[in-house]
């Protein structure tokens, strides 16, 4: 399996605070990975480093073998537009745009024609089960629906990697399960690699691999075979 993302001895400090220390990891294409840890463990900072939203103090980040650490902010923005989908805990939808416009939003600064943008956005909305809510604005959608719109937005540029920061943090358990199932299906059906940052062990249990962090360092790697998926357990009951 090819590696989609790789870090080498990644460090990130904010002043004297070392948020991420000596992190080396590899995300394979089509892999579904959870990064877990307590609050302040550095997991969100690590995700932001992986997304190019923060620059590392030292170390390298390779995307499909290419070093992206040297890219400037616009270069990283272009890289995200072409290869990465981002999902946030607070959804971060644009309040003045409808669901379908929000999904198409990453394509606005591209040369793709508006008709094709809309078609691609509608297809992604249908994929997340929200085609009938295409004309609704975020304020008219539930939290779970908003997160599904955000996931559709992350998919609209056909990324090879989705990075999700606490995607279920603002959702009830039912919606959380639906969102994680959506990630699972996307991962299996489209082969997109998904990295989810969470503090919720139930969420982490859905993934193929768990990376546990403490004090900015990776302290544990677990594969699926070593764990009992919580949602699977619940369904079996």
């Amino acid at each position: 399996m090819n590696d989609v993302l790789q870090t080498e001895n990644l460090d990130k400090s904010f002043g004297s605070v070392k948020a991420v220390q000596d992190v080396s990891l590899t995300i394979a294409a089509g892999e579904f990975v959870a990064i877990m840890g307590r609050s302040g463990s550095g997991k969100t900072t690590l995700l932001q480093l992986l997304a190019g939203l923060e620059s590392p103090t030292s170390g390298r980040i390779l995307f499909e073998g290419q070093d992206i650490s040297h890219l400037d902010e616009d270069g990283l923005a272009l890289w995200r537009r072409e290869h990465v989908g981002l999902v946030f805990q607070a959804f971060h939808l644009i309040p003045t745009l409808s669901a379908v416009e929000n999904v198409a939003f990453p394509l606005y600064p591209t040369s793709i024609q508006s008709k094709e943008r809309r078609q691609r956005a509608l297809a992604r909305l249908e994929q997340v089960g929200l085609a009938q809510r295409a004309g609704h604005r975020p304020g008219e959608l539930s939290g779970g629906e908003q997160q599904r719109v955000a996931i559709a937005r992350a998919l609209v540029n056909r990324p090879s990697l989705i990075l999700a920061d606490e995607p279920t943090g603002n959702l009830d358990s039912q919606s959380s399960a639906e969102v994680m199932e959506l990630f699972r299906n996307l991962n299996r059906e489209e082969g997109v690699a998904v990295v989810v940052v969470t503090h919720d062990s139930d969420v982490a249990a859905v993934t193929d691999r768990l990376i546990e962090m403490k004090d900015g360092r990776i302290v544990k790697h677990d594969s699926q075979a070593q764990r009992m998926p919580a949602y699977v357990v619940k369904e079996e009951r």
């Binding site: 969100t44 939203l53 923005a77 537009r81 971060h92 644009i94 003045t96 990453p106």
Partner: protein, 417 residues
């Protein structure tokens, strides 16, 4: 710049959008309306002379007659000699010169204001040919005929064909003119051929006693000038005629128009510009508030792949669009204000030098004035200036603000949620 996002942002935040548009619109309306008001007054000040096809009336101050008997010249109409008239015609910027001889005729039984004119000249009182109400106008080269002001003729019971004595000489009344149609400048009771007026004046003892009047002289010149050179022509004519020159122009009329006009003329541009700048500043304030509210959205834009220039183009586009709509609304407002202004009347007093009636006679001390509708019009230059200033201002300020906004670190604003 994405138009659908721009439209969504502007249309789905109606309060903020409308207040920004209104700010610019009021500034533009103030700027353009004040220009229209000032330009209306400037046009009005030109009206009295423009009605007789001239931009400038040139006279010379002279001595007071020793006796008010027979033909005398008002003391503001001393002779202008032929060589001076020829020199005036050759001045750069002078397009046409009409000449006239104005005199008073004090007879034992009547007083007349008489103007000798060239009926072939369209610059000056020759224009009265368009104001004939009965009979005909003076014909070229004819002598011994006269046309009368219709009101004067009615008061005196004059009829066409009747012989009217002027300084004892017979003149046949061939027509009546409505002088109110030609303004109050060069107004007289009777109009006669220029050659007759020159001959009568040359023979008049009370003229010759105080003036060096020659047979082919005039005592009023009406000058039409190239509009771009009016000021230089005024200066040249004043210089030509010496220190006793009385040169009247639109400026002379505007000087007696009143304080309101002077304030608008002097400070209107400045006040309008200040209003427009305040409008743009209000737009800037609205944009600043808008960008502060949208910090998270801008962070999202960066996070999902918008480059800095994409964001700057989008935000500057919003500012320019607001300014453009504001200008258009402002122009509509200005058109309405100008329409209202153009329904008002303006009274333009005629300077005393151009009054043909002696102040010591009944009615002579009455102020003469021309009342017209204020010709207020939106000038293309003012509209384009407002458009240019608003667009340039909003583009520069919008780009500056957008540039700052585009430097937002997405990790910071998204983390803070």
């Amino acid at each position: 710049m994405n138009l659908s996002y721009l439209f969504a942002e502007l249309s789905r935040r109606p309060g903020r959008t409308s207040s920004a548009i209104l700010s610019v619109a009021l500034g533009v309306a103030l700027f353009v309306s004040l220009q229209a008001y000032a330009s209306g007054y400037r046009q009005a000040a030109r009206a009295p002379l423009a009605e007789i096809g001239a931009d400038i009336a040139a006279q010379r101050q002279g001595d007071v007659p020793e006796a008010f008997q027979g033909i005398v010249f008002p003391h503001s109409t001393a002779p202008i000699h032929r060589d001076e008239i020829s020199a005036a015609r050759r001045l750069p910027g002078v397009e046409a010169v009409g000449e006239a001889v104005l005199f008073w005729d004090f007879e034992p039984d009547q007083f007349l204001v008489v103007l000798g004119l060239d009926p072939t000249s369209t610059t000056g009182p020759g224009r009265l040919i368009m104001a004939v109400t009965a009979g005909r106008f003076l014909a070229p080269s004819e002598r011994g005929t006269t046309v009368a002001d219709a009101t004067f003729a009615r008061e005196k019971g004059l009829r066409l064909g009747e012989v009217v004595p002027i300084a004892g000489q017979p003149f046949t009344l061939v027509g009546l003119v409505d002088t109110s149609r030609a303004g109050q400048v060069a107004n007289a009771n009777l109009y006669i051929p220029l050659a007759d007026a020159q001959a009568l004046s040359y023979a008049a003892p009370n003229v010759r006693a105080v003036h060096d009047f020659r047979a082919d002289d005039a005592n009023i010149l009406f000058i039409r000038a190239n509009q771009a050179q009016v000021d230089s022509v005024i200066a040249a004519v004043t210089n030509l005629m010496g220190k006793k020159a009385i040169v009247s122009s639109a400026r002379s009329f505007s000087q007696v128009l009143g304080e309101a006009y002077r304030l608008v003329d002097r400070f209107g541009w400045l006040v309008g510009l200040a209003g427009l700048l305040v409008g743009i500043a209000a737009l800037l304030r609205a944009m600043t508030a808008n960008l502060w509210e949208r910090r998270r959205d801008i962070g999202v834009m960066r996070a999902i792949g918008w480059r800095r220039k994409d964001i700057m183009g989008q935000l500057a586009g919003e500012a320019v669009t607001l300014a453009l709509v504001g200008v258009l609304v402002g122009l509509v407002l200005a058109a309405f204000v100008t329409l209202v202004l153009s329904q008002t009347s303006v009274t333009v007093p005629v300077p005393w030098e151009l009054s043909p009636t002696p102040h010591f006679l009944p009615g002579g001390a009455q102020a003469m004035a021309v009342t017209i509708r204020l010709p207020a019009q939106i000038s293309l230059a003012a509209a384009l200036s407002a458009l240019g200033l608003a667009l340039a201002g909003s583009a520069v300020l919008g780009l500056g603000l957008a540039g700052r906004a585009a430097r937002i670190k997405p990790a910071e604003v998204l983390r803070s949620e």
